[in-house]
Symmetry: D4
Subunit: 250 residues, 8 copies
Amino acid sequence: MNNNMLKSILQGVQDGTLPIDQGLDKLRDLPFLDIGHTKIDLHRSLRNGFPEVIYGSGKTPEQVANIFAHMQEHGNVLATRITEKTAEHVCAQFPEVQYNATARTLTWVKNAISYGTTEIAIITAGTSDLPVAEEAKVTCEILGTRASILSDVGVAGIHRLFDRMEDIRKASVLIVIAGMEGALASVIGGLVDQPIIAVPTSVGYGANFSGLSALLGMLTSCASGVTVVNIDNGFGAACAACKIARLIEK
Amino acid sequence: MNNNMLKSILQGVQDGTLPIDQGLDKLRDLPFLDIGHTKIDLHRSLRNGFPEVIYGSGKTPEQVANIFAHMQEHGNVLATRITEKTAEHVCAQFPEVQYNATARTLTWVKNAISYGTTEIAIITAGTSDLPVAEEAKVTCEILGTRASILSDVGVAGIHRLFDRMEDIRKASVLIVIAGMEGALASVIGGLVDQPIIAVPTSVGYGANFSGLSALLGMLTSCASGVTVVNIDNGFGAACAACKIARLIEK
Amino acid sequence: MNNNMLKSILQGVQDGTLPIDQGLDKLRDLPFLDIGHTKIDLHRSLRNGFPEVIYGSGKTPEQVANIFAHMQEHGNVLATRITEKTAEHVCAQFPEVQYNATARTLTWVKNAISYGTTEIAIITAGTSDLPVAEEAKVTCEILGTRASILSDVGVAGIHRLFDRMEDIRKASVLIVIAGMEGALASVIGGLVDQPIIAVPTSVGYGANFSGLSALLGMLTSCASGVTVVNIDNGFGAACAACKIARLIEK
Amino acid sequence: MNNNMLKSILQGVQDGTLPIDQGLDKLRDLPFLDIGHTKIDLHRSLRNGFPEVIYGSGKTPEQVANIFAHMQEHGNVLATRITEKTAEHVCAQFPEVQYNATARTLTWVKNAISYGTTEIAIITAGTSDLPVAEEAKVTCEILGTRASILSDVGVAGIHRLFDRMEDIRKASVLIVIAGMEGALASVIGGLVDQPIIAVPTSVGYGANFSGLSALLGMLTSCASGVTVVNIDNGFGAACAACKIARLIEK
Amino acid sequence: MNNNMLKSILQGVQDGTLPIDQGLDKLRDLPFLDIGHTKIDLHRSLRNGFPEVIYGSGKTPEQVANIFAHMQEHGNVLATRITEKTAEHVCAQFPEVQYNATARTLTWVKNAISYGTTEIAIITAGTSDLPVAEEAKVTCEILGTRASILSDVGVAGIHRLFDRMEDIRKASVLIVIAGMEGALASVIGGLVDQPIIAVPTSVGYGANFSGLSALLGMLTSCASGVTVVNIDNGFGAACAACKIARLIEK
Amino acid sequence: MNNNMLKSILQGVQDGTLPIDQGLDKLRDLPFLDIGHTKIDLHRSLRNGFPEVIYGSGKTPEQVANIFAHMQEHGNVLATRITEKTAEHVCAQFPEVQYNATARTLTWVKNAISYGTTEIAIITAGTSDLPVAEEAKVTCEILGTRASILSDVGVAGIHRLFDRMEDIRKASVLIVIAGMEGALASVIGGLVDQPIIAVPTSVGYGANFSGLSALLGMLTSCASGVTVVNIDNGFGAACAACKIARLIEK
Amino acid sequence: MNNNMLKSILQGVQDGTLPIDQGLDKLRDLPFLDIGHTKIDLHRSLRNGFPEVIYGSGKTPEQVANIFAHMQEHGNVLATRITEKTAEHVCAQFPEVQYNATARTLTWVKNAISYGTTEIAIITAGTSDLPVAEEAKVTCEILGTRASILSDVGVAGIHRLFDRMEDIRKASVLIVIAGMEGALASVIGGLVDQPIIAVPTSVGYGANFSGLSALLGMLTSCASGVTVVNIDNGFGAACAACKIARLIEK
Amino acid sequence: MNNNMLKSILQGVQDGTLPIDQGLDKLRDLPFLDIGHTKIDLHRSLRNGFPEVIYGSGKTPEQVANIFAHMQEHGNVLATRITEKTAEHVCAQFPEVQYNATARTLTWVKNAISYGTTEIAIITAGTSDLPVAEEAKVTCEILGTRASILSDVGVAGIHRLFDRMEDIRKASVLIVIAGMEGALASVIGGLVDQPIIAVPTSVGYGANFSGLSALLGMLTSCASGVTVVNIDNGFGAACAACKIARLIEK
């Protein structure tokens, strides 16, 4: 609640240029000035030019299509966790909407994305981690940051990682995605200086306990400065990475 | 392993300006060129001008003092998780070493720190989270980034938080520290655009399960782009924040 | 076991107005005087004018229909956790039974509900929490208390919450429903004085561990006086809220 | 944020009876009007005539005494989770402060408490649950509601419970405190109509896992309408009960 | 390894009545003399006149039918955890085999069961616990002990339990089956003197965590002398009860 | 609540041989006729000639001594979980009370114990399990059943077990006590026909998780009919075994 | 990084026999000289003549077939966790590929396997553990080590185990596979001197918690020298056993 | 139970060279022929020339000394988990017993150890893992296998590991010890062909949960053929490694 904003409202009221009822409205609106439609269930509505985001999990094809219909007058749209069935339903109605089957995302790019100068490297331990990596990539791009995937460089064959170090060192921010024991985050964390956002995945079985092993492993990483997001949360990692990108570009 | 570095070494050998034995040494040293003493147990030796860091947990006062003795010819030194007893022992021997009892850190600043332009805000839910916040602050500062603590702005009295929003909005990176349910990270994550590094703390009892409630809460935060470090890990959050700061300042 | 009731029975026996066998029956019945049919599996038979409640989970359509058939001579009936298939089966047989597909409830209102004066506000963090909220609403209403749902006011966009504070402040009791980290209970708990019953939901994935994150978060809430029911238990929250409502109205 | 309050401030500004700077202050203060000292770590500062509450865990005797010193000009004060050592330190300085060794509370009653008409019954399964019960009782009383403890009526000798049913039925709100399997909450929940706030305790060993067995048991209680607070949280249960009491008395 | 058996074998060898090779066979067979077919996967082959038991989980209809075919020359047979599909397949081939759809058991009674004098009472908290109760009943009966089910006497309506106390007191051993918080075991344990075998069930949802709440509750029961078997393990409880019955009848 | 008892009371009232007030008393006392002092915190007061039992955990030496003082006019007394310090305090006051330092029990045998004919074998995997075994033995004996300990026969040297099979086969009921993986219960369960009560102990470290490994192992034992009590609960196992013994002796 | 290899490369560069660019290539390749195709998602590519291994879980039939197509010019191939549907798809395209439905493996043996002299015994507690045992057997064989399965020798009928001790003693390395409480590993560990690799399986229900009980049991085994792999990981156990076999044969 | 041994006993009985009573003794002793003193609580008595091993945890100094006294006529002795206080007590009585304060072991070498030809490398991630490594080393040596420790080569500075690869490749068996996320096992597992026994340690805090993170990480390692022992179990890892060594040397 900015003092100056408050002061100017009060000034307007005292001046008589702002009737009490309008002042009342302004005061009530202050903390959420730039928000439009709270009734639509958004993944997280990212303000300031970010696209609208829909979290598709638990929604029927009809519901998702309906939300897209309401978004026709908005900017770009991203929907995550979209099943093939929902995608077909939505794309039939809105042919310009694109489905990425690996990332399980729908994107509706109405305004050309103008990319910043930063580059994000999305690194996966195995090819089974690709859906999470693709979700991160699609999210980065619609948020205006270029991202590329370096896949299958897990620590069980660490030479594969070393072979890609040059590419890794060129990126500004790293998203490291791994299931099983999640050791890749620690190894990369010991080799580079960039911010690392680690994404544990549910890839594995048994003592993996649906991603718990990678999650605990990344949180207790012996490499300092690794931060972690929820299991399989490629979208969240991309949001965090893009916030850093935006900061650099300012 | 940078191609150019390899090429220049080989070139030197071919030219005869670099004898084979010296080339051999250089090649073996490449990935850990600037490391001196791997036998000393460092928290995480941060290369590139970063200070040496000692993880004090489980070390005797004598061992810590001994490590400080070996570090006399190195740059600045940070030691974390230091008990009062160890601090007394070390400070008696090295009077210029400073003990911060709240942060439980020892710092030995031999070369004046030249701060960058970035500012980090360290926000705590309650005053019981202060030791973690202080550890983060001391770490940020010795890594060359200014940081200030905004304490006791937990969500149970959310007006306290709003009162500090202006300060919070001025910082480039936020470290949000909370125990119990850790809701502060979600609330701030919904209000600002900066990168947020959340630190769950073990503050609480019962269903807190030594920090598990705050940890799970922060990982499943409904605000996108919040990243998380280990429970009570102020040091790790500061490292992550400073990596971002360094990127901005480049 | 009320002394007076015992005394009056004994008095009747001594007076000869109550034959021994009838006294025996009365004594055996004392603690469960107003119960009719213990063989039917009820969710929880709420005495004193409350409707009969059937817990539908794990019952076949035929079993549920059969219970409804046995309840024809009883008062109002509520059935929870009812699948669409079961609903079709029951409603085909008893056309006056209403199915609420979101709440997954069947209601059979034979006697018009006479509402009390109290109002309950049911607040959800996201639209995915709606099934739990609807179950709570249907339960409140058949228990004779008016309830309204304020949905999608989660803390990631806290302005949405503030916009509804007036409505929230008007209710006597609040039911706060949230998945993920469940922070909404803490935030509301810090803003209002009413009793708050928090319902963690299984909405989320990964470190949500089927509702564990919200459950632990709500139990360790930094706002005092928040109480918690089982994960996804909209019915239980409504029962608790209506007990309070009834107390107020007395 | 009450519309009327906002309107009256704006009216005052327009009228000229309220200078802009004072209006500004009032607006900034609105959500936390009656809060004085946010820097002191309060358990949860209960507004509206409620006493100040200090959460003593993790504070030194000096810190707690210092907070009491700052509270001299405030109303009644409650401090919870106070060790004997801290109590001695504080009472030496402030002789009118009372220590309850079982409840581990300090109370400083400067203004005579005016009790409401409601009564709360605090019921424990065993005598080992007494510290939690006493914390609840002390809290209820300083919040202005009479409470009495019915101890040692656990279900392993259910006749002890039945013997006390008359007392239990007289209270408006019940706080049920039990460790081990926590079955007392279910049994009482099946016998009475009042609101029940269940407090699991860490009493037990082995598969009790520090209160987890009672916690899960109470959350999954087969009696509807039982709500639960954190393990050993007598304070929180009392706050919830007093919120209900206040509602009744309105 | 019984001394007398060893002695008689050696005596036979010394006497010459037992050739060395036959003695060798006898010695090798000693610890498993009365076992026939170790290659068939039995639930637990109960020796001494007990029927053969097949654990059906994870077996195809063909495999189960095949085992029944191999058991034609054995005594009575019990198969547990049998799906309807498997039952149809087996019963088509062996018409005298009986399927109990609630218990999910197949029984093949070739020799009339001669019941002992002991009676086992199987008590359930709710009707959803019936499949476990039926599995226990079928097992008791084929093991030669009469058992009867007293269902739906859970603690949320404790009068229903008291109404059945006479029946309960008549049984020698009690099997108490309950899901949710499993409080029934504690309550009965406090009322009677018989051995109680408690079976936690997976009935419930949320914080029930697939039976964990009832399991922990029963293990930490405040009533002494309650013993517990695995979640949903009606078969195991019946085996334990019948061992006691057999002991009594000796 | 026995019909005959009720009938005879009513008959007395009708006859005039029982005044109403005395009838009232009798009726109120029915379910807890033989209980004396509910205010003393008993482990579990075992009716019918069983001794009074005190659960010492969390009680001060003074409190325990005070309870003993109140028990002077009662029969035999058992106190469990008694520290050495408490024992000294109590024994100084009541010299006839015996302390068993391994079992951590106090026993006060005023009336000579008359043992039944049954024998219980208490079998431990290792010598570290002895405290639990001794607690079980002391409990069995004061409950009137002879018990002997067979220690250190764990499965890692299974010959040690076979060497004791004759002794094991002679007992009527077996209590099997093991930490680590708790395999002893399964192995014995496969060798004998007697009832087996398994006690997991907290002996072990790491993945033992304070007894969890033995607890889960015993609950999932592949030998049917093994029942389990809480971790380290020698007292509870003895109570269960003695209930069986009593049944046999009837 | 072998000194001699480095030296010979440098020597070659100095001699002029190795151009700088080729030296550069050699240096970059050093740590992963013998790897061919990092882009294919391999279970774990075992170097040195071991076959290529594909982890089939989460791959479509088309993807697996495609990987087989790329492996035509490689040596023998093993694919694990293959569904029947995938197997049909692959075998239709590559008729020489063999599907083992129990082991859920595909094997493509192009070069005859030359077996070593070592023998591995794979021992299972029950027949339900067979899929894991078969996966281990198939893996051992394609890795060039003979293995045989001894099934259904669980501890609940320990005589079955003793009957097979001779066979067990003949093997060099033992793989012990058990679900439920996993006690078989401890029992065998106490009887033999060979290395034992224990595989917990998810066979069981309830307190088995998807293999957790067997996993914890094996990790805390009272028999020293038992090592453990992931739940249901027959493949991993076989790899470990074959590493030992290879060592023996050297 | 070896056929030949049985046959020779029976032959002796038939021949008359072996009286029945002596034959009886021999038969009873067969499975535990070479065991002496089962009453002493041994860690795990390793037969065949292995030393006696005492597990010191939970034993008083007197008890440990007493066991040593009973072992005077045995071979070499190893005691693990020995506190300094116990060590002093034992060494005062038996001056030739050696205490290793880091390993927390006592060793009593009466017969010179004759080492085999195999070498074991014990590799630790950090210096805090040294106590576990030392326990492993002492155990290896008294079991007759040479072992050397390579410490502080954790993955956060992976160059430190590469620097030691030559030493690592020379050993026959590797013991890899790491806390925190335990990634070292995966990385080494991907670089070498030897058998790897991984030991998770409890080094770390927060989400380490006393070693759980390293344990789960090692069990789900993406490198095939890594086997795991209990948390902090250096002794067990050494036993497993020495079993392999013994096999190689045969």
